[in-house]
């Protein structure tokens, strides 16, 4: 396949970026999208040009590092995958592909396609945990029964990889799917109950502080989430917040 790429180039956070055209030839449909960019980068290095900077690590859809807006969609055209799992067979010979970084005030661009997602870490630091020290003396793991439904639903929420696609795709740049997923995981488990009220209040406050927008129930986040995190988690977070504020 031969493709035309229009890629966002930006030297640093303070620079004004722009889209630059690149041509790639001999693209095999079995290549992953990132391998296609590897080929382009090797080409650029050979021509003494600067390679394109992008985040990536595990290349199997679980670390959450890769983050690209491809043809106007977070992680590209396919559903339920990250960029690193996107393969070139999803494109046709002669296609033009637009590649941009996540766009959100709370995710400033570091370089080219790389953004700073440390706001997510700070939200977790505000309350995304259960306060239990390591001791070797906590109660036996089977001492508290947890229904299969609760464990499975908590697991579904916990599969969030923190990539930020939900924020990137939301017209309000809201992080509610991300925060809702973490709040839900703990809200569904008995271990999470003790600190439930404080947790949701602190995490939501930090989320607002970071400059993420609000949720207007468009549902784009759920559609673009590589792990299929459900909107229900946002509803659960709102219920938890309401409960916390009433008590």
């Amino acid at each position: 396949m031969k493709l035309t790429l229009k890629i966002w180039r930006q030297k640093s956070a303070n620079d004004k970026g722009n889209l630059v055209d690149y041509k790639v030839n001999d693209v095999s449909p079995d290549m992953s999208f990132l391998e296609m960019l590897d080929v382009l980068n090797q080409d650029l290095i050979d021509k003494n040009e600067e390679p394109i900077a992008f985040d990536h690590d595990c290349r199997e859809g679980i670390c959450g590092m890769c983050s690209m807006y491809i043809n106007g969609r977070a992680h590209g055209p396919d559903r339920s995958i990250t960029v690193c799992q996107l393969h070139m067979r999803s494109f046709k010979d002669g296609d033009t592909i637009y590649i941009e970084p996540w766009r959100a005030k709370a995710f400033p661009v570091i370089k080219d396609l790389i953004v700073d997602r440390s706001a997510f870490d700070r939200i977790q630091q505000a309350g995304g945990f259960i306060s239990v020290n390591t001791s070797g003396n906590t109660q036996d793991a089977n001492a508290t029964l947890i229904s299969k439904y609760a464990a499975d639903t908590a697991m579904d929420a916990a599969t969030c990889i923190g990539c930020g696609a939900c924020v990137a795709t939301c017209k309000n740049s809201s992080a509610m799917l991300f925060v809702g997923a973490k709040v839900s995981q703990y809200a569904l488990l008995p271990q999470g109950q003790i600190e439930a009220a404080e947790r949701v209040r602190n995490m939501v406050a930090q989320m607002d502080l970071e400059g993420f927008g609000n949720c207007t129930n468009t549902g784009a986040c759920e559609v673009e989430c590589p792990k299929g995190i459900s909107l229900e988690n946002i509803a659960r977070m709102n219920r938890e917040l309401m409960k916390a504020n009433i008590n």
Partner: protein, 665 residues
């Protein structure tokens, strides 16, 4: 220098308890005066950082990713072992210890492994308390599955994302301490040297990967939880950024490197599709609970498949060779990884590989789908003879168990594994070798520790499935916090370690000149060009089967490649900016040294053990032939060039387990 493993006296059952009773402790007020650097935030580094901060030490944690949550522990799929015996199937601390030592082909240190088995149960308790959503049964109790090389079900899991959930648990514990100010987190930082002052590890030199700035960080002790070196093979199941640099710099500063040739080639990975390939994807070993591995019995079927004239589903049962079930009836498809990988290689070398490259075997779920379907039909009172219904019910069960893995496979290969068998082939996955540590997890450099995959101690020559997560968390949550306290008890009056000493100057200058050399080289080939070449040498000559002739070739070829790298590598851009090529160049430079030591170690070890298989040492049936003369750990001391490395031996003594033939028949 004689190696002292510092294994405590007494019966193996009491060693750890007695040890803990007798070590020096640091009182809470004094812990506030002590700094600890932890490099790497995977299961080992993350859990250690959280626990040490909870205890009151000042922790500085470093990772090269944009967040500690992204360390490659996140990709571990199948599960974590613990001797809980919740299934009542005869499990115990001793049996987990026994399985692990036997699984490691009697090349691990007994006392370390016993301690690992002993603390395994606390890990599960701790993770559940943290809110890790392990799989549960309908009664609300924790569920278990079985893994290779064992006869009990002791593996706890969270779908096919166990590593992710455990890492997020450790990450949440870290976050709590970051929020309290007890951990200072340095994301997008890479350690480029360890600083030794008066013979003790007292800090590191790190590069800020965003600005390119070189930073000095001091502490009273330095802990490396920096993972394995499998990316020496270029293609592997490791993350793209996984590297040996931190471990190798430690080695160059005096830490012995143990058993580098003990590498795990995992049997069930998605086969290579072409030259563009950047990484290989693992399909969890848990799939071997339900998947059956086979190749066609007859060559004409193999050829017809390769030509696309025949589908695997069209080959009748009697024309299939379920070679693991045939060769190892007792363990069948759940033989340990080294055995399964070699058996796949044996069939493919014999010409029975089922894809175009001839390097793939089938992993087939049809039998399991039918079995589960029938079970479900019976439970639900439905027609057990309705084939379409059975298939649908069976698929639902398989989907619930392995859904994410099947989806991953389909995305990469573009085939539906519910309808046609998966194709798999072995790939580099884990390194049992690593930095030599004593019972305290301290390296040969005082104050420098290595934990998790970065050290060598617990898995011998082969790691059993679901044991990496166990070891990472055992080291970080339950072992290091005790052992490092004993060491740090001597540092309560030391005060902060200054970073303006000559040692810091020297280390920083060396790091900077190294970076300058790379960036100003202006050669003709990119970093990847050299990395791929190294990978080919490693895979072809230091891979699943090795022999003296090829290992000697590998040693000289790697040395030549390294010389060519330093002469001809091309790194674009400048040092004071985000520059991934520069970061990669430094990592590949270290792989080019480690690779040679790896081959040297493999050549020196004239036996077959676990993942190290020497063609010259095999039984008439083609099984690994271990040799009593090599019942030791090879710990290599750095002396300049890898070829000059000096071997130190730690004899392995087995007092609590009989060393016998490792049979899975």
């Amino acid at each position: 220098m004689a190696l002292d493993s510092k294994v405590p006296e007494g019966p193996i059952k009491d060693k750890w308890t007695n040890y803990k009773d007798k070590i020096n402790l640091v009182n809470p007020a004094n812990k506030r005066l002590i700094d600890v650097i932890i490099v790497g935030t995977g299961l080992a580094g993350g859990s250690a950082a959280a626990t040490l901060a909870e205890l009151g030490y000042n922790v500085k944690a470093f990772c090269f990713q944009d967040s500690p949550r992204r360390a490659h522990s996140i990709a571990a799929q199948g599960g974590i072992n613990a001797a809980k015996n919740y299934q009542g199937d005869g499990d115990s601390t001793y049996r987990l210890f026994y399985d692990t030592v036997k699984g490691g082909d009697y090349r691990s240190r007994e006392a370390n492994v016993y301690r690992l088995a002993e603390v395994s149960t606390s890990i599960i308790d701790q993770c559940v308390a943290q809110g890790v959503p392990f799989a549960r049964d309908y009664g609300g109790l924790l569920d278990n599955r079985s893994f290779g090389g064992v006869l009990v079900s002791r593996t706890f899991y969270a779908k096919g994302q166990t590593g992710q959930q455990l890492l997020l648990g450790a990450y949440s514990a870290m976050n709590r301490q970051i929020g309290r100010g007890k951990i200072k987190m340095y994301n997008r930082h890479e350690m480029l040297d360890v600083v030794i002052v008066d013979g003790k590890a007292r800090g590191i030199i790190a590069r800020n990967l965003v600005t390119g700035e070189i930073e000095r960080h001091s502490a009273h002790a330095v802990v490396l939880g920096t993972g394995g070196y499998g990316n020496a093979f270029y293609l592997s199941t490791y993350a793209m950024g996984s590297n040996v640099t931190a471990a190798w710099k430690a080695h160059k500063r005096g830490a012995f490197f143990a058993n580098p040739c003990f590498t795990q080639i995992h049997p069930t990975c998605i086969p290579v599709s072409g030259d563009h390939q950047s990484k290989l994807t693992l399909m969890s070993e848990s799939l071997r609970n339900d998947g059956r591995i086979w190749v066609p019995k007859h060559m004409e079927d193999v050829l017809a498949i390769r030509e696309g004239k025949l589908k695997p589903t069209e080959i009748p049962e009697e024309n299939r060779d379920y070679y693991l079930e045939r060769r190892y009836p007792a363990f069948g498809n759940l033989v340990p990884r080294d055995v399964a990988s070699r058996a796949a290689k044996e069939r493919c070398d014999a010409g029975y590989g089922v894809n175009k490259t001839g390097e793939a075997v089938y992993l087939d779920f049809a039998t399991a789908i039918e079995r589960y379907g029938k079970e479900q039909a019976y439970v639900k009172g439905l027609d057990e003879n309705d084939k379409a219904l059975i298939k649908k019910l069976g698929k639902d069960i398989i989907k619930a168990k392995y859904g994410n893995l099947f989806q991953m496979y389909e995305k990469i290969v573009d085939q539906n594994p519910y309808e046609t068998p998966m194709m798999i082939y072995p790939a580099a996955h884990y390194t049992m070798g690593g930095i030599w540590v004593d019972y305290n997890l301290m390296t040969t450099v005082p104050g420098l520790y290595a934990i998790g995959e970065a050290n060598f101690s617990d898995h011998g020559a082969n790691r059993l499935g679901a044991s990496a997560l166990m070891q990472g968390l055992a080291d970080g949550y339950f072992v290091l916090p005790y052992t490092i306290g004993d060491y740090l008890s001597h540092d309560i009056r030391t005060g902060p370690i200054p970073t303006n000493s000559k040692e810091f100057d020297d280390a920083e200058n060396q790091v900077k000149s190294n970076l300058d050399k790379l960036i100003n080289n202006n050669g003709t080939h990119s970093v990847d060009y050299f990395h791929k070449k190294l990978g080919k040498i490693m895979w072809n000559k230091c891979g699943m089967a090795r022999n003296a002739k090829e290992l000697k070739e590998a040693i000289s070829e790697i040395a030549e490649l390294r010389a060519e790298f330093w002469k001809d590598v091309k790194v674009p851009g400048i040092a004071n900016e985000y520059n991934e090529e520069l970061a990669k160049a430094g990592r590949v430079a270290d792989f080019l040294e480690l690779g040679e030591l790896f081959a040297k170690d493999a050549l020196q070890r004239e036996e077959s053990a676990g993942g190290h298989f020497r063609d010259e040492y095999q039984t008439p049936e083609g099984e690994a032939m271990r040799r009593k003369e090599f019942q030791y750990v090879s710990a290599w001391e750095y002396k300049g060039e890898p070829k000059d490395a000096v071997l130190h031996k730690e004899a392995l003594v087995y007092e609590n387990i009989e060393v016998k033939e490792r049979s899975y028949k």
